[in-house]
């Protein structure tokens, strides 16, 4: 085997080794279940205001309204998660439970995807 082939192989092995051995960033943990539920409720409670703002931002455009709402929601979830010391996924899961338990006042149906004709 030529030195070049060895070098190529070494690069491939190095790439695989680095990728498979990479350590993930530490995940935030430690919040109790009550704190997680509270954080989820706080996000859920703000839905009507965010929906209203989205309706003003995209009059008559149902999908864009829903999409704009979800953008605000995900930002809030991330902030609440950081504040409450809980992972983002955990808080989204808690939000799902919260919405199921108290569905009133929340939009729980699909809003079919209809991308806008213009983005430029």
């Amino acid at each position: 085997m030529s030195v070049f082939r060895v070098l190529t192989l070494a690069c491939v092995v190095a790439a695989v080794t680095v990728a498979t051995g990479a350590t993930p960033m530490p995940r935030v943990t430690g919040a109790d279940a009550a704190a997680v539920s509270r954080a989820a409720r706080e996000v859920a409670d703000r839905e009507p205001g965010w929906r209203r703002a989205a309706r003003m931002q995209f009059p008559g455009d149902r999908w864009s309204q829903d999409d704009a709402f979800h953008n605000v929601e995900q930002n809030a979830v991330r902030m609440q998660a950081a504040r409450a010391g809980v992972s983002v996924g955990e808080l989204f899961d808690a939000l799902d439970r919260e919405l199921r338990a108290h569905a009133g006042g929340h939009l729980m149906q699909a809003v079919p995807c209809k991308p806008r004709p213009f983005y430029d």
Binding site: C11, R52, D93, L99, M108, A110, P112, D120
Partner: protein, 756 residues
């Protein structure tokens, strides 16, 4: 300096093992930061969706032992193979299966960078007197700034662009009458298509056409019979089509059932494009700047003018100029981009700047050729050494800048720890497409949906059901889930009478049942079941997946046969054998289409942005007749004025247009709401779905839209509308008959309402 070292360098550059070692080193140096971050999660919004497609596909295979045909986790369920941007239908998916979707992404990137470099070398080398130029430009193309941006955004599927040079290599070889060229073309094209090449696929077809024509033109010079060249190019096209059917067929099905309009006139000035090509990229507020988005510091371009000495060089420079022009889009008026958009496949292409990659490819090839022509002229002279040293310096500087750019951009990525995972019974959640990657690992679907096309999504989907399978009428009976996987459901059904069973996922014609009948109920997957107690199995097996998959398998066998020299050569002695071989995948697909029954997919109804139907049989009874006609063949038949504004100040207007002939492309609608000030509701697309020009004669279309009138305050608001030319001089289209409306300056006064 002795010219001997140059000869050694040329020989070294031509050694494949030496080249690959260099390319591997460069790819490793480029990818090192992303390899180190392989365990972390890209939070960028597009990455959330595109990564989830790959993750869900891996989960299908690893957790359920199924092919990733149906993705239940997004938008209420979609045909995974038919979603143009998913990338799992390619050989690189094996890495995702082996290492997981997360860690495989940088490894796939690493491999594709290497492949891109080798491909570019092979594009330039056959036309260059030496190998130094091709070797120097190869990394410049493969490390182009577009790939840094693509990785940042999570567009791993955009690394399919790295395979474009291979399409050119394959077509060129096929044009020379080489069977291997047929195989390379088909394999690279199918991989691009399977890897989610929404842009790379159409561009590959363009490059193949250009190279095919060039090959035909130069056949005589290469002492290849024109017929032979034409034959092998045709074989390459046929086999490419057959080998790509596994993806083209499902994607075609998807796109023909969901109407999408790409409106607007995207364009760039030459200075914008110059900034995209010449400046390093910056990460600003979570996005990568447009300048540097196609960073291509190919200083070797100083040698490109020398390429004009050869026809091939002139061709490459011409194609580079054409690509640059195409990249301006509508920015300088018409361009190749605007012409291409008239074609069936290309009308879906939104961003003209992606032609900058094609520009880079041809510019790099011309630079390599120019350098080699110059070296050839200086053969045996000391000047040759000087030129090579300068070229090495310029090439090295360019590559260094690109590696730094890639690392700089990807180090600015918004990363997070990998999401928590929990294996539990699947159910739909409201979800969030901006953070989609968090839901799949939790065994939750996301009804919140975004895609580049209107995903057929049922409004009956819910995120608060006690069970995902249920009877529309609970009195009919009860349902219990026995087993669940993405492509297969086993249900225990107790029906007192015949009734409709609902599954909280979208309908698709590929769903089949062993009992009753699968029905499309407002886009929801439902089954009409007979009375009785029984188990019902539902499985997802669309004809396009079976036919396309079998065609791809046959294509692979044909490729193996063509690649090997023995048997095919003997076979080829018989006429038409090659043609029959490469047609086999298409014939197999046709056979499956004929033998496997499946209902025809029905297009989802086209709606306005507010969900109301766009195309109507007749004007609703509550609309006010107008009967106004314009100088274009459009009639405003009726209108429904707002009764007022809602709680946030939105007013909804409906205009009912009848089309009486072919309307010009540039006609748009202006609408003015005049109260204590003016609010405009101008728009170019009708019902947020069509240009007027797209609508056939006789069509009645409802254009329903809303505007926010908070700024007008309280009081009467009058509504005026008309048509105008969005492009060109921007003038109003004359009104030839105002009907029942008042007319002023080619603007119809439709009436007024009060804002309270």
């Amino acid at each position: 300096m002795a010219p001997g070292w140059l000869a050694s360098l040329q020989r070294l550059c031509d050694r494949r093992d030496a080249r690959l070692a260099l390319f591997a080193l460069l790819a490793l140096a480029t990818c090192w930061p992303i390899l180190e971050q392989a365990a972390n999660f890209n939070e960028f919004r597009d990455a959330q969706v595109l990564f989830s497609y790959e993750r869900d596909a891996v989960a299908s295979v690893r957790e359920y032992g199924e092919l990733p045909l149906w993705d239940p986790s997004y938008c209420g369920g979609l045909y995974a193979l038919g979603t143009p941007q998913s990338r799992f239908a390619s050989p690189f998916f094996l890495l995702s299966l082996l290492f997981g979707a997360q860690r495989a992404a940088p490894l796939i990137t690493f491999l594709l960078l290497m492949l891109g470099m080798e491909g570019m070398f092979r594009v330039a080398r056959p036309h260059s007197p030496g190998a130094i130029g091709p070797l120097l430009v190869a990394p410049l193309l493969a490390l182009q700034g577009m790939f840094a941006v693509s990785y940042f955004n999570g567009w791993v599927n955009f690394f399919g662009f790295e395979l474009l040079p291979w399409v050119v290599v394959g077509v060129a070889a096929a044009g020379r009458g080489e069977r291997r060229g047929v195989v390379i073309t088909a394999l690279s094209f199918a991989t691009i298509v399977g890897f989610g090449g929404t842009y790379a696929g159409p561009l590959a077809a363009l490059l193949a056409c250009a190279e095919g024509l060039a090959a035909l033109a130069s056949a005589r010079a290469l002492r290849v019979r024109l017929v032979t060249s034409l034959k092998y190019l045709s074989l390459a096209a046929l086999l490419s089509a057959g080998a790509s059917l596994f993806r083209l067929w499902p994607v075609y099905e998807t796109l023909t059932t969901s109407h999408r309009i790409m409106a607007g006139t995207p364009g760039h000035t030459l200075s914008n494009l110059g900034a995209a090509l010449t400046l390093p990229a910056e990460v600003m507020r979570g996005n990568v700047s447009f300048h540097g988005a196609y960073f291509f510091p190919c200083l070797l371009i100083v040698f490109a003018p020398f390429a004009l000495a050869r026809r091939r060089g002139a061709l490459w420079l011409g194609l580079a100029a054409l690509s640059l022009w195409a990249a301006t889009g509508y920015g300088l008026g018409d361009s190749p981009f605007t012409w291409l958009r008239q074609l069936p496949l290309f009308h879906m292409i939104r961003y003209p700047e992606r032609f900058l990659f094609v520009f880079a490819l041809y510019a790099a090839a011309a630079s390599a050729l120019g350098l080699e022509i110059l070296l050839h002229r200086f053969r045996g002279r000391a000047w040759a050494s000087v030129v090579v040293l300068v070229a090495l310096g310029l090439g090295g500087l360019g590559v260094r800048a690109e590696v730094r750019n890639f690392r700089h951009v990807t180090e600015g990525m918004w990363l997070a720890p990998p999401p928590i995972a929990e294996s539990r019974p699947f159910r739909q959640a409201r979800g969030n497409r901006w953070a989609l990657g968090y839901f799949g690992p939790l065994s939750r679907g996301s009804l919140s949906c975004w895609e580049a096309y209107p995903v057929p999504e049922s409004p009956l989907l819910r995120a608060d059901l006690p069970a995902e399978e249920y009877f529309a009428d609970p009195a009919v009976g009860s349902v219990r889930r026995l087993s669940w996987s993405p492509n297969r459901l086993l249900l225990d059904v107790e029906a007192r009478v015949a009734g409709r069973l609902r599954i909280n996922q979208n309908y698709h014609v590929g769903w089949r049942t062993d009992v009753g009948e699968v029905v499309n109920d407002a886009g929801l997957l439902t089954v009409d079941v007979p009375a009785g107690h029984r188990q019902i199995a539902l499985r997802f097996l669309p004809r396009s997946a079976v036919g396309g998959g079998l065609a791809a398998l046959v294509a692979l066998l044909v490729m193996l046969g063509l690649w090997r020299r023995g048997a095919p050569r003997r076979l080829a002695r018989r006429r038409y054998v090659d043609a029959l071989l490469v047609s086999a995948p298409l014939l197999v697909a046709l056979g499956v289409r004929a033998l496997m029954p499946q209902p025809a997919p029905s297009p989802a109804p086209v709606t306005n942005a507010d969900g109301s139907l766009a195309l109507l049989e007749r004007v609703p009874d509550d609309a006010t007749p107008v009967g106004a006609r314009f100088a274009e063949p459009v009639e405003l038949e009726a209108v429904t004025l707002p009764a007022g504004v809602d709680d946030v100040g939105n007013a909804r207007l409906q205009l009912f247009f009848r089309i009486h002939g072919q309307v010009s492309r540039d006609v748009g609608i202006f609408v003015h709401f005049d109260g204590r000030g003016r609010v405009a509701g101008d728009h170019q697309t009708v019902a947020a779905s069509y240009y007027f020009a797209d609508l056939p004669e006789g069509t009645l279309v409802r254009d329903a839209f809303s505007v926010n009138l908070r700024d007008l305050g309280r009081g009467p608001v009058s509504v005026h509308m008309g048509l105008w030319r969005v492009g060109g001089d921007g003038t109003r289209v004359p009104v030839v008959d105002a009907g029942r409306a008042e007319l002023r300056d080619d603007s119809l006064e439709l009436g007024s309402f009060d804002v309270r």
